[in-house]
């Protein structure tokens, strides 16, 4: 039987096993919305702004491991979605974004709500397609999911002109697609892995640095197993948190610009650096000229272009990190060797001295609420089991430093693009994927206002998100830089004319709480996760305005040149 393009679209998503589409209707996608109306297999979530649709799909993907799916209309629908597409691209998140397009006959005519979606998204997608023939629609959708979810994952945009959604074709969804120009490597080269293992076993001061690649490739267990065998110290990037249990003693915290003293010092002084699924981002390396001066570097990554891009590497291994980690473990076992005990013990002694500096200390006696204390309390009250999304700025760093993630997929933040406004919609996606779990959005009074309209979506779908707003009346990270590097000229970083967030939350039908004293922090969090378990709670914590994120590596400095508290 022949189906319309719109019907084919819906059937494809169904056959692909898609649970949720995050989207917003409009002229160019009316046929598709009509087809969505007539079925009940795929649930459509109506957001309030297309940017939120992409972030929600992203949060869904990060917390579930399944690709996120977005549907928006042409023109402004597509342009609004782009920030979310770029966010997913920078963090390698599998996502398929469908944009409506004006009818084929009008493309290029400056038609109403026309924009060159394929052109405008090209630099921030893994790949994109314009569907010009209804008989190719199903195959294109299959390809989009295949490309988005394999190799180094990423967002794929599929642009569908309106006439294609009305035309008819026979439907069949291909089980598999082959693309002659796209064959991602899965297994690492054995000889290279052996070289890496030999180097690891000969290390006197080893250091392991892992990133989002381990999370994306579901490699947390393989990583933990190998680390337990080797007893090496390990740090995670902002994207990699949860790949190794944060409460374990081998874990040194995050590294880089706001990384811990022990992690950064161990990086700087190691003799063998094992980088896995990480990309030597500038926020991690600091000044590359001063980066790991004494280390030989092993780098495992699925993307060959990530290897030797910023930092020269001694043993490159292209492959899926989980596969490579397992191979490494097998080779270590086979060799019958273990790292040199005495050297490793001395290295650990040194690391413990660095750890004793207690770089994350803060004033526990203050009469003002310290933002760090809010995060620590959130960790205690949720017993470390919450899914935590964040926006961007100081609160993001404190969340990464003070919430100890023992499991993967639970820390969801915009690491690469640094998108303010990401937190709340990402929390919606995470809550859809994990309806029974606590989802907390750690944010600030600046970031939350960038997608605050989603409080409406949360009410419509009954999403009991806990919004942890660290309200210091400042764009805190901007203020911090202005304090340190611009002699305290706080240009445009003071957040004047803030709304009453309590009334705002209430007007959307949610619960609002303002917390102004340290002793009220824990009771409020308990109430939010207890009495108001099933409600969205906006917790507006009035925090110390002067608090800064420490340690900090200033621009141009090496990892050992931290500003400490």
């Amino acid at each position: 039987m022949e189906l319309t393009g719109a019907e084919i679209f819906v059937r494809c998503l169904e056959d692909e096993g898609v649970e949720y589409i995050f989207g917003y209707p409009g002229g160019a996608v009316l046929n598709i919305y009509d087809a969505i109306y007539k079925q009940d297999k795929v649930e459509h979530v109506l957001v309030r702004h297309e940017q939120a649709a992409t972030h929600a799909a992203d949060g869904y993907a990060r917390s579930s491991g399944k690709p996120g799916v977005v549907l928006v209309t042409s023109g402004p629908g597509a342009t609004n979605a782009i920030t979310g597409v770029a966010t997913a691209y920078m963090d390698s998140i599998p996502m398929v974004v469908f944009t409506g397009q004006v009818p084929t006959s009008l493309i290029g005519n400056d038609a109403f709500q026309e924009v060159d979606s394929v052109g405008i998204t090209r630099p921030c997608v893994k790949h994109n397609f314009l569907v010009k023939d209804v008989t190719k629609l199903a195959e294109t959708i299959k390809k989009a999911f295949y490309v988005a979810t394999t190799g180094r994952p990423g967002p794929v945009v599929v642009d569908i002109p309106k006439d294609i959604t009305a035309e008819k074709a026979e439907y069949s969804y291909p089980k598999r697609v082959k693309m002659r120009s796209y064959n991602p490597v899965v297994k690492g080269n054995k000889r290279q892995i052996q070289k890496a293992v030999d180097l690891m076993l000969s290390a006197k001061r080893p250091m392991v640095y892992t990133g989002g690649g381990v999370i994306l490739d579901r490699g947390a267990k393989a990583l933990t197993d190998l680390m337990k065998k080797l007893n090496f110290p390990i740090t995670n990037t902002l994207m990699g948190l949860g790949a190794y249990p944060a409460t374990d003693k081998q874990f040194l915290g995050i590294l880089g610009m706001h990384g811990t003293y022990e992690a950064n010092m161990a990086m700087h002084n190691c003799d063998v650096l094992i980088a896995i699924g990480a990309r030597f981002d500038d926020r991690v390396t600091g000044n590359v000229e001063k980066f790991c001066p004494t280390a030989r570097i092993i780098h495992v990554d699925i993307d060959p272009a990530s290897i030797a891009k910023n930092v020269k590497v001694d043993v490159p291994i292209v492959g899926g990190v989980t596969n490579v980690l397992k191979e490494m473990a097998a080779m270590v076992a086979e060799s019958g060797k273990s790292p040199e005990k005495k050297a490793l013990a001395e290295w650990w002694k040194q690391i413990e001295e660095w750890r004793a500096v207690d770089c994350l200390k803060y004033d526990h006696e203050s009469e003002l609420i310290k933002p760090q204390y809010v995060i620590e309390s959130l960790y205690e009250v949720t017993k470390g089991n919450a899914f935590v999304t964040s926006d961007v700025g100081q609160h993001q760093m404190w969340a990464a430093q003070f919430y100890k993630f023992d499991k993967p997929y639970r820390w969801i933040n915009s690491g690469g693009l640094g998108t303010m406004g990401f937190g709340l919609p990402a929390a919606m996606g995470a809550q859809f994927a994990n309806p029974k779990d606590t989802v907390a959005c750690v944010t600030g009074e600046g970031s939350i206002q960038m997608n605050i309209q989603e409080l409406s979506t949360c009410l419509q779908y009954g999403l009991p998100i806990k919004i942890i707003c660290l309200n210091n009346r400042f764009l805190g990270m901007v203020r911090q830089w202005q304090e340190f590097f611009y002699q305290g000229r706080y240009s445009m970083s003071y957040m004047d004319a803030l709304p009453d967030f309590i009334k705002l939350a209430e007007s959307y039908g949610h619960v609002g709480m303002r917390i102004e004293k340290p002793e009220d922090v824990v009771p409020a969090l308990k109430e939010a996760t207890g009495k108001y378990k099933d409600r969205l709670v906006f917790l507006d914590f009035i925090t110390d305005q002067t608090e800064n994120v420490y340690p900090m590596i200033p621009a141009g400095a090496g990892l050992n040149e931290m500003i400490l508290v």
Partner: protein, 157 residues
């Protein structure tokens, strides 16, 4: 590359987004109409060339890529040039001789001009233009470099 709309802009977009230079770029369909072949000339340190190669390989429309400068290869560029050459002047005879020396062809003639077709390396084309002299040149159009490896090895699927 896949012979598809947008494939060329993926390549050129990559170069501009990452700040790499394109010195010349030629592209046309091959004997297999689903494929195009592109020759791209760029310049950079070994590290930059390695990164360019990797980034190009990442593009899904790029099917196969080789760096011709890694082995013996041939580069050719075609140029059409319109030259002032008044009938009956010594200059017109001189252009004729130069075209012979450079093994070009005169492909269009008017009482006042010659249009010359010339193929060779970029250096040879530059040398011809220099020999003709700036003031005599009315218009030039160059194809950009096409390249192929020497010997029996060939770039095919």
């Amino acid at each position: 590359m896949e012979n598809e709309a947008g494939a060329l802009s993926r390549v050129s977009g990559l170069f501009s987004a990452r700040g790499y230079n394109i010195e010349s770029l030629t592209v046309a369909p091959t004997e297999d109409p689903s494929l195009s072949r592109m020759t791209l000339v760029t310049r950079g340190s070994d590290e930059i060339i390695e990164q360019i190669t990797k980034q190009l390989n990442k593009l899904i429309d790029v099917v196969k890529l080789i760096d011709l400068t890694e082995g013996a290869h041939i580069e050719r560029e075609m140029m059409l040039v319109k030259i002032r050459a008044e009938s009956g002047t010594e200059a017109r005879d001189e252009i004729n001789r130069l075209v012979d020396i450079f093994r070009g062809n005169i492909i269009d003639v008017t009482p006042a001009t010659y249009t010359v077709e010339l193929t060779g390396t970029g250096d040879k084309l530059d040398a011809f233009l220099k020999a003709v002299g700036e003031e005599a040149i009315l218009e030039t159009v160059r194809s950009g470099v096409s390249g192929i490896s020497r010997g029996e090895k060939s770039l095919a699927l």
